[in-house]
């Protein structure tokens, strides 16, 4: 939007008043002049017509009795009407009968009279009037008078110009004095507004000078300034508070960063310490387990020898106690064996190569079937399950998982084991499912801790180290392991062999697919 030229309100008001005055004057003067000129014309025409009639009547006897002298005398009376420049009387035949001319009149008399008419001929009014008496035309009066319309127009224009100038000057003086009444309060507001904007000083107030709309404007303006002042203060306070808070927060952030760095250092130190301790502990437990096996074998061996060599010397109770000793010894040997396995899983480098998990699963099932030829278990192994991983460790993991499934389906009516893999978004999740005893999901967390058994040894044999071993194998591959189960309906163990990038929520979908 283009703003008009930056004139002040004062100039605009002044201009307005002057333009209005000018227009009004022009219209008024125009009307007056127009009216006057029209009146002048009418009055002159009427006057001259009357003059011609009078002249006709006066001169009628002279015409009737053919007295040129009298006619001339009659006409010469026109010298008292200086407006009339020339006059003539024509007789009934149309011949000039008598004439009159003002000294300065240059016009020739028309040769023939015309019918009654009035017309403007250049600067003159020309008039013909017939003299009629008793229905007879006695002759014609001719009059030529000064028609002063144009000099009058010039006079009027001059007067109008003077009046215009005088009126405009008066209007200028009056309005420049009076417009102050209107503009002074407004200009005062404008001045205050300029200062407020220029200096950002919202404490300024405009002075109320009148009770009209401008006064209302002043009140509103002041109210607005008060409001702006208040808000500005609030805003400044709020800004200061925010700045302080931001300062505090950044200080806190720095503190947190510092603490984090410290913490990381400490964690690193602790981890190193823990790793050392762990290695020492593993080394220690390995040695202990290894060294414990020799005495156990001795106990078992000699217990066996005692039973074999002296069956007749031993009462029935003694034989039974010896059997219990041997059984416990063997269990302990198994425990030690498992612990050693667990330790071995943690030790040594991880080998990565393509492994056919289906084949491993089949081998494990075959071995289990061999151990219990009497059991009939429906086994389903999906084809083409391949994984990148350590073949020995994966074999150990399947030994445990499938072994568990085999073990916990021993009391099922129609035992069934399924080993498969699900692909989702390029990630593979492997699972081992059975329809065995299952467990309460409330204990799902405890499954993978060493020596955490959910079932008594009387119910199902086992050392409680197997799932801890599996978890450690899966973790070493960078994967995760979890389980879902329902008491009496069976359990599913899932695991992955690569670092999961997906959110844990995906576990649910995967689990559902596996169940379905």
């Amino acid at each position: 939007m283009k703003l008009p030229s930056p004139r002040s309100l004062r100039q605009k008001l002044l201009g307005m008043v002057l333009v209005i005055t000018l227009v009004s004057l022009i219209v008024a003067l125009g009307a007056i002049i127009g009216y006057d000129l029209r009146a002048y014309h009418r009055v002159l025409v009427s006057d001259m017509t009357t003059q011609a009639e009078l002249l006709g009547r006066t001169i009628a006897p002279a015409l009737a009795f053919d007295d040129t002298k009298v006619a001339k005398e009659n006409l010469s009376l026109l010298r008292f009407r200086p407006l009339v420049s020339s006059a003539a009387v024509y007789n009934a035949r149309g011949a000039l009968f008598a004439t009159y001319a003002r000294k300065d009149d240059p016009h020739a008399f028309p040769k023939l009279p015309e019918a009654d008419n009035v017309r403007v001929d250049e600067r003159d009014l020309v008039l013909f009037k017939r003299i009629v008496s008793d229905g007879e035309i006695l002759g014609t009066v001719y009059l030529r008078a000064d028609y002063e319309l144009f000099p009058r127009v010039y006079d009027y224009l001059g007067i109008a110009a003077v009046v215009l100038i005088a009126a405009m000057l008066v209007a200028l003086l009056m309005s420049s004095w009076m417009q102050k009444i209107v503009t002074r309060p407004i200009l005062a507001i404008a001045q205050v507004a300029r200062e407020v904007v220029g200096q950002r000083d919202y404490s300024r107030r405009a002075v109320k000078m009148s009770a009209d709309e401008v006064g209302t404007l002043v009140d509103s303006f002041n109210d607005m300034l008060t409001e702006i002042d208040r808000r500005t203060r609030e805003l400044e306070a709020s800004n200061a508070k925010l700045a302080q808070e931001a300062e505090e927060r950044s200080r806190a952030d720095r503190e947190i960063l510092r603490l984090n760095a410290e913490l990381e250092n400490r964690v690193r130190e602790r981890t190193a310490q823990l790793e050392t301790a762990n290695r020492e502990l593993e080394s220690f437990s390995y040695s202990v387990s290894h060294d414990l096996r020799a005495p156990l074998r001795a106990i078992d061996g000699f217990g066996q020898a005692l039973l074999d060599d002296f069956p007749e010397h031993l009462p029935g109770d003694a034989k039974r106690y010896l059997s219990r000793i041997r059984s416990s010894t063997q269990h302990m040997a198994q425990l030690i064996e498992d612990l050693l396995k667990l330790a071995r899983v943690s030790r040594g480098p991880l080998e990565r190569r393509t492994v056919d998990l289906a084949q491993i699963a089949r081998q494990v099932i075959a071995e289990l079937q061999q151990g219990e030829p009497g059991r009939a278990v429906e086994v389903s192994i999906w084809d083409g399950m391949r994984a990148e991983g350590d073949p020995h460790l994966l074999r150990a993991a399947f030994d445990n998982l499938i072994g568990n499934a085999w073990k916990f389906t021993s009391k099922s009516a129609e035992p069934r084991i399924e080993i498969g893999a699900l692909k989702d978004h390029g990630h593979t999740t492997y699972f081992v499912r059975d329809n065995g005893a299952g467990f309460e999901m409330a204990y799902a967390d405890k499954l993978f801790g060493a020596f955490q058994r959910l079932h008594s040894t009387n119910e199902y044999s086992g050392t409680g180290i197997g799932l801890a071993t599996v978890q450690r194998i899966v973790h070493r591959h960078g994967g995760r392991i979890w389980a879902e189960a329902e008491v009496g309906k069976g359990a599913v163990f899932f695991f992955t062999l690569e670092a999961a990038t997906e959110a844990p929520a995906d576990e649910r979908t995967v689990a559902k697919k596996a169940h379905g």
Partner: protein
């Protein structure tokens, strides 16, 4: 209107022709003189005011009596045919000396009856009657208007009757074109 204008023009042409140039032949001059006098006689009517009682009704004619001027009477009869004076028709009556003058509005006494002028004018005195003569002693004998010929032009003198002695009023406009106006003492 056009017809009237043409007629008026024709008449005026006749009058003006008579006025314009004096004829060498005496008879023609005499005829022109009577023609102009007849026209004047008719026109006098327009400048005379008779008392209202002298007319029977609003459209009663103005009667002009002519005595001792047969040629003028003939001219006048031609002129007044179809013309009006003050809205009244005009009638011409030829008179011989001794004929009654009652009912007349204008009485012209020509030179032919000049010998009995005093007698005729005496009879007319006191009547609502405009008396016109063409004798040198006409006004002295009691006539109101008397024709004269000056420089071959017909003019007239007027002796307005004293207002108390006559009921006829002569317009001041007519007085204005008279050669001279004689005021009577009697």
């Amino acid at each position: 209107m056009v017809r009237r204008w043409l007629r008026a023009g024709a008449f005026s042409a006749v009058v003006a022709a008579g006025l314009a140039s004096p004829r060498p032949v005496q008879a023609d001059a005499q005829a022109d003189e009577y023609r102009v006098k007849a026209a004047f006689l008719y026109k006098f009517g327009s400048y005379i005011e008779w008392p209202s009682g002298s007319f029977a009704s609003a459209d009663s004619p103005v009667t002009i009596g002519v005595m001792g001027a047969e040629a003028l009477a003939e001219e006048l009869a031609q002129i007044v045919a179809g013309r009006n004076v003050n809205g009244r028709p005009v009638r011409v009556r030829r008179l011989r000396p001794g004929d009654p003058i009652a009912g007349l509005h204008v009485l012209f006494v020509g030179r032919a009856d000049g010998g009995r002028l005093a007698e005729i004018l005496a009879a007319a005195r006191g009547q609502a009657l405009l008396t016109v003569t063409e004798s040198d002693e006409g006004l002295e004998l009691g006539s109101m208007i008397n024709f004269v010929v000056v420089e071959d032009k017909v003019r007239f003198d007027i002796a307005p009757p004293p207002s108390e002695s006559s009921n006829v009023k002569i317009s001041a406009r007519l007085l204005g074109v008279a050669r001279k106006v004689v005021s009577k003492s009697s």
